[in-house]
């Protein structure tokens, strides 16, 4: 199942992880914060790619899974240990995806994009409503693990997400997903279990975002629904995938690197200019460089649907 790994790439990959894992030893808080944010976006963008890059079912609502993870973590805090609640958050968001995905994945193309967005916003406002009914406007998470430990967990999630995307991209399953993207009817005709593949991909692409949400809830040490379900999270993921390009594991890595670099440069200094730049980048990449940085840097890559 596992595709052959070019030795050079594997060495670089392992080397980067090893260096990253040693970062907290330097004692530079800023560096760890940036690395955590990078690991988070890599984990999210890689997960997104499993469903959306490969099948072409673009989800504009991945914030929902991040948010559900964060919510589960906030609810479970103080009741079970984080070692249990983080995987639990992943399972919860995966289950939610399977329940919602069964009907939603019948809606195709841009309508799925809108539907996924609508579902995420619906979840956001529902949870705001529930929390308001419970008299909770934000939940504090007191005594969370140290940022260094959380960074290592997040690094693990990023590595896991990258490996999942890498393995899926080279597997029979991955080729099935790409066939769905190119022509769903034809894929069905040649015997690909289209509905089942889409649902599995959806489940796979939401498991890690749920865990990322849980870890981030601990990092921020509070949960507030309109922040945890911020549509900007979904937007950023899509943007990273568009900037990165390609439907294998390289695109999201490039996209996240570019994105985190840009946001470190601009976000704090001029948030509105930063958002305008993001909007312009989205337009530019869609219209002029639809295959993203992966194509610009590496030359050949598989065509990618949007």
């Amino acid at each position: 199942m596992i595709p052959p790994i070019p030795t050079r790439d594997a060495l670089i990959f392992v080397g980067v992880i090893a260096v990253a894992a040693l970062l907290p030893k330097l004692g530079n808080e800023y560096l760890v914060a940036v690395a955590l944010s990078f690991a988070m976006w890599v984990a999210l963008a890689q997960s997104w790619t499993v469903l959306c890059g490969m099948t072409g079912y673009g989800s504009f609502g991945h914030a929902a899974f991040y948010g559900i993870g964060a919510y589960v973590q906030a609810l479970a805090w103080g009741i079970v240990s984080p070692w249990l609640s983080v995987p639990l958050a992943g399972i919860a968001s995966c289950l939610f995806a399977l329940v919602v995905g069964y009907p939603a994945l019948k809606v195709r193309g841009p309508y799925f994009v809108m539907l996924s967005f609508g579902l995420a916003e619906f979840m956001k406002y529902s949870i705001i409503g529930i929390e308001a009914r419970l008299g909770q406007f934000s939940r504090l998470i007191i005594g969370a693990p140290s940022p260094n430990d959380l960074f290592l967990v997040m690094l693990g999630l990023a590595v896991a997400a990258t490996l999942i995307t890498f393995v899926v991209a080279g597997s029979r399953f991955g080729y099935g997903l790409r066939a769905i993207r190119e022509d769903e009817q034809a894929a069905e005709t040649v015997g690909i279990p289209v509905a089942r593949y889409k649902l599995i991909a959806f489940g796979l692409s939401t498991f890690i975002p749920g865990m990322v949400g849980a870890v981030m809830a601990m990092r921020l040490s509070y949960f507030e629904p309109s922040q945890a379900f911020d549509p900007l999270i979904s937007f950023n993921i899509v943007l990273m995938a568009m900037i990165g390009g390609s439907d294998d594991a390289r695109g999201p890595l490039l996209g996240a690197l570019f994105f985190v670099g840009l946001s470190e440069l601009l976000w704090a200094r001029a948030p509105q200019v930063y958002m305008i730049v993001l909007g312009a980048l989205l337009i530019i990449f869609v219209l002029f460089a639809p295959q993203g940085l992966a194509k610009l840097l590496f030359g050949k890559t598989r065509p990618r649907a949007s």
Binding site: G118, S126, Q272, M275, I283, V286
Partner: protein
């Protein structure tokens, strides 16, 4: 998104069991009037979206942000030079129409001309418009900061029986109704209106009978954006303006267009009104905090149900 008087009413209705007034308030003209006003604005906004979406299948996710620009235009013209919004809406409409022309010329003519990727056109247009939406919102936030703004205009109250209507809401409703009639007549009798309808119905056939596709697309963009700008002026008379106010209108417009069908004006009007009623009565019956849950609930259900035959029918053609 709710008019403030309505919020107060909704608050009063929050607890129907304890409040003997609830049922009579529900049946009174007050909610009906509020629903008509909200619905009529949705109709105008959705008419604009219908032109852009219908003629070119472009998913204009920035439509509500054009509404926002129209609202700011009227706000500044009123605040700085005292121009009444019923006049400045023409300027707002013109400016937004100009923006539509620029966006079409600059971005979408390319995208539409690329016949290799018709299948990806909708998805790409959604992303491009989303980019435009973010740019417009943050541009407005940069220029006008994020303070909610409002102005008082025609704020007298007219009473008919026990029904109290503010003059600005009446003006809003009347203007929207007149606009609807104008658009209706335009699409029914004017040669360009007929061409737009032809393009909505069948692109290839329209080209065959000599419709200048390029020009009609440009016109659709101009009218579609212009209507959104005018709707923004109308909304600015009664509601607070912020750089991020547009989004709910985008959602409402998509619900209306999908519910009403492409290029079908009568159904489109009914759908816009329906949404206005769902929002006002839904909130009155439940709670004003559920406003967004309701709208997105309708959005999801409509998208799921309608996109089945909507899309199925189109993908085959």
């Amino acid at each position: 998104m709710l008019p403030p008087t309505c919020d107060a009413l909704a608050a009063r209705l929050d607890n129907p069991q304890q409040n003997g007034l609830a049922v009579s308030a529900l049946l009174s003209g007050q909610l009906l009037f509020a629903a008509l006003v909200v619905g009529s604005v949705y109709v105008i906004i959705a008419l604009g979206l219908n032109l852009v979406f219908g003629t070119m299948r472009l998913l204009d996710a920035a439509h509500g942000d054009v509404v926002m620009l129209g609202a700011y235009t009227s706000f500044w013209l009123f605040t700085l030079v005292g121009m009444p919004p019923l006049l400045s809406m023409l300027i707002a409409g013109g400016l937004c129409a100009g923006l539509g022309v620029a966006v079409y010329r600059g971005l979408f003519r390319r995208l539409l001309a690329d016949t290799r990727l018709p299948r990806r056109l909708e998805g790409n247009s959604l992303l491009v418009f989303f980019g435009i939406s973010i740019i417009l919102q943050n541009f407005a936030a940069l220029c006008f900061d994020t303070t909610p703004r409002a102005y008082l205009y025609l704020d007298g109250v007219i009473r008919v029986g026990n029904l109290a209507m503010t003059e600005n809401r009446l003006a809003e409703l009347a203007t929207a109704a007149i606009l609807c009639v104008i658009i209706f007549l335009f699409l029914r009798f004017h040669i360009y209106g007929l061409a737009i309808k032809a393009l909505i119905q069948n692109r290839q056939a329209a080209a065959v009978v000599g419709v200048n596709i390029e020009r009609i697309q440009l016109l659709s963009f101009a009218i579609g954006f212009g209507l959104a700008g005018i709707a923004g002026s109308l909304i600015s008379m009664t509601e607070q303006i912020t750089p991020f106010m547009g989004f709910p209108f985008t959602i409402a417009a998509f619900v209306t267009v999908i519910l009403g069908g492409l290029g079908n004006l009568i159904r489109g009007m009914a759908a816009g009104m329906f949404l206005g009623f769902v929002e006002i009565y839904g909130v009155a019956l439940t709670s004003s905090s559920l406003d967004s849950v309701l709208i997105y609930g309708v959005f999801i259900v409509v998208l799921y149900l309608q996109s089945q035959d909507f899309l199925g029918g189109r993908q085959k053609s």
